[in-house]
């Protein structure tokens, strides 16, 4: 356990260090990359809760990532255009105030997850994978063909939204904000993992019958976990919208679901900081390979394959096992 704590600290600290060094060297884009890692890590931590602890392999988390993003995109574009969101039966105006945007993003993803989860959790295993995908695809196709907010073209937020006391347009400030959110999420996830709820969720993954016969409905436990998981991923989507100052249906696509899942598996399923490691490695590979060769995705594939074959339990599993023996 202590090795894992150290691993987590090194990862989180590393993220901060890279951003600060990049700031010192005026490598602004590196800060953007690290911010991206942090946001993907949050999305991954969200998924990891359902997938790692709960064994709920959701292939539809892009839905929540995208909904979080669109919540921000829609509200802030209304605010920027001075058009209220609705006037009847009561007036709802847009906003560019991040805390409110985040809250809305989290709520919207949570509500969507409640509805999607309530139906999806009737199934299990591969059926669950596919039914979550199905819901995400429905939302994706809806977003593509619904013209009000840009459809396939997406929706631009011309100016990054604001956070009191902070110049969010400054890359380092925005990173620090995201980083603070990441820390909070890691902390919450850690507590949750060790809590009674976490224990029960985990037990339900290993043997649902065990949990049922102890008088607990695995369905309810899983549904709650699914909703929390979606909320965290939705929050990440909200941050991602502000990072890019842009949202589009691509955030909702199945490729995005796949990528979030890849972060988790790459980093180590069920490990607290796994998604951070996974997202960092993925973004790094993408960035460096992308600059190296025309057929860089070929090498990205090889690299990922290498990790699966030779690092059991993802990066976290790989590193920690080594440590445990030494």
């Amino acid at each position: 356990m202590r090795a894992e704590t150290l691993f987590n600290l090194v990862l989180v600290g590393g993220l901060l260090a890279v951003a600060l060094i990049a700031f010192g060297l005026e490598e602004t884009f590196t800060i953007t990359l690290v911010t991206k890692v942090a946001i993907f890590a949050i999305a991954g931590i969200g998924l990891n809760l359902a997938l790692g602890q709960g064994g709920l392999v959701s292939f539809g988390h892009a839905a929540f990532f995208g909904l979080g993003g669109y919540a921000v995109g829609i509200l802030s574009s209304h605010a920027q255009n001075y058009e209220p969101l609705m006037e009847w039966p009561f007036l709802v105006e847009g906003t560019t105030f991040m805390p409110v945007l985040w809250l809305v993003a989290v709520l919207v993803s949570g509500i969507a997850a409640l509805a999607i989860g309530a139906i999806s959790l009737r199934t299990a295993g591969v059926y669950f994978i596919m039914i979550t995908l199905a819901f995400a695809q429905m939302i994706y196709y809806f977003a593509i063909s619904w013209p009000a907010y840009g459809g396939e073209d997406g929706l631009s937020i011309y100016v990054r939204n604001g956070f009191p006391g902070l110049n969010t347009l400054d890359p380092l400030s925005f990173f620090l904000l995201v980083f603070a959110v990441l820390l909070l999420v890691v902390f919450l996830a850690a507590r949750l993992q060790a809590s009674r709820f976490g224990m029960t969720l985990e037990a339900a993954r290993q043997n649902a019958l065990r949990v049922t016969s102890a008088g607990i409905s695995p369905y309810r436990v899983r549904l709650v976990a699914f909703v929390i998981s979606a909320m965290i991923t939705g929050l990440a989507g909200a941050l991602y919208a502000d990072l890019n100052r842009f949202v589009s249906p691509a955030m909702l696509s199945w490729q995005t679901s796949g990528e979030i899942m890849v972060f988790v598996i790459l980093g180590g399923v069920g490990r607290l900081a796994g998604p951070i490691a996974g997202a960092a490695l993925f973004v790094m590979l993408e960035h460096f390979l992308g600059g190296l060769a025309e057929h860089w995705q070929f090498f990205l594939g090889l690299a990922l394959l290498g990790v699966v074959l030779f690092a059991r339990g993802g990066l976290a599993g790989f590193v920690l096992k080594e440590r445990g023996r030494g």
């Binding site: 809590s195 009674r196 224990m199 985990e202 019958l209 949990v211 049922t212 016969s213 008088g215 607990i216």
Partner: protein
């Protein structure tokens, strides 16, 4: 006479053409061990599954302390006080023995929807769980993951879990299976203790244990309860001797 804790009336379950429970009447009185014996495939586990809620009877009613639970979901029955052990162990393999018991303690010690406190250092969970492990003699294996326990040890753990639930009824499906001779003897003593806490509906093929423990024995054949009585009645019943006990046993 006291009211039965568990009362089955005309419970019937069919799988296609096969009638696995055929109009079964069965009850369990406070303080007793009621053994259910019968040839393989007679329908004993199927009956236990219906009582626990894993299967829904095709017809008939099941009452628990007077309340009709025929349609209640399994988790609710467990909360009401039905604890069961499985014929094939159902445990969380990656968890330690202790954590497996803790999961069963949680619903009765404040519920599972607590998101912050550390479960492993929550004494409201660990203490009752440890106590239960002690009773089955697994206290030294508390921290061992279930996947590393031997078959027999898992059977013991199943019982510890049932104990930890402080139930009103124990449903036990072949608890002796896989226990070595010494284990069986110790378990027999344990069950004799347990019936003071709650009555036991015991499915078992180990006749030494059944005859030593049971206040009443019911014999099931082809889904039907064909005889109910004391150990001596049953031992003497020629039908049971032939269909179940066989030539020289017991």
């Amino acid at each position: 006479m006291a009211d039965p804790v568990l009362d089955l009336r005309q419970v019937t379950k069919s799988f296609g053409a096969l009638v696995a429970s055929d109009h079964v009447d069965l009850d369990l009185m406070p303080g007793e061990i009621h053994a259910l014996i019968g040839p393989n495939g007679a329908g004993k586990s199927t009956l236990i599954k219906q009582i626990a809620g894993e299967l829904r009877p095709s017809s008939g009613t099941i009452r628990f302390n007077g309340e009709d639970i025929t349609a209640a979901p399994p988790a609710r029955r467990a909360t009401m006080g039905l604890a069961r052990t499985f014929q094939v162990s159902a445990l969380a393999p990656e968890f330690s023995a202790l954590a497996n018991v803790m999961v069963a303690v949680a619903p009765r010690a404040g519920g599972v929807f607590r998101f912050f406190g550390r479960a492993l250092s929550d004494r409201a969970l660990t203490e009752p769980a440890m106590a239960a492990l002690q009773r089955v003699g697994l206290e030294n294996r508390a921290e061992v993951p279930v996947s590393e326990l031997s078959h027999g040890e898992r059977r013991q753990l199943e019982i510890a879990i049932a104990l930890a639930m402080k139930p009103k009824v124990f449903l036990m499906d072949e608890p002796m299976a896989g226990m070595g001779p010494d284990g069986s003897q110790r378990l027999t003593r344990l069950l004799a203790d347990m019936k003071a806490e709650a009555p036991i509906l015991l499915v078992e093929h180990d006749m030494d244990a059944v005859f030593a423990l049971a206040n009443r024995i019911s014999v099931m054949v082809y889904g039907r309860v064909v005889a109910t009585g004391t150990a001596d009645d049953i031992r003497a019943n020629p039908l049971v001797r032939e269909a179940y006990l066989g030539g020289d046993d017991a």
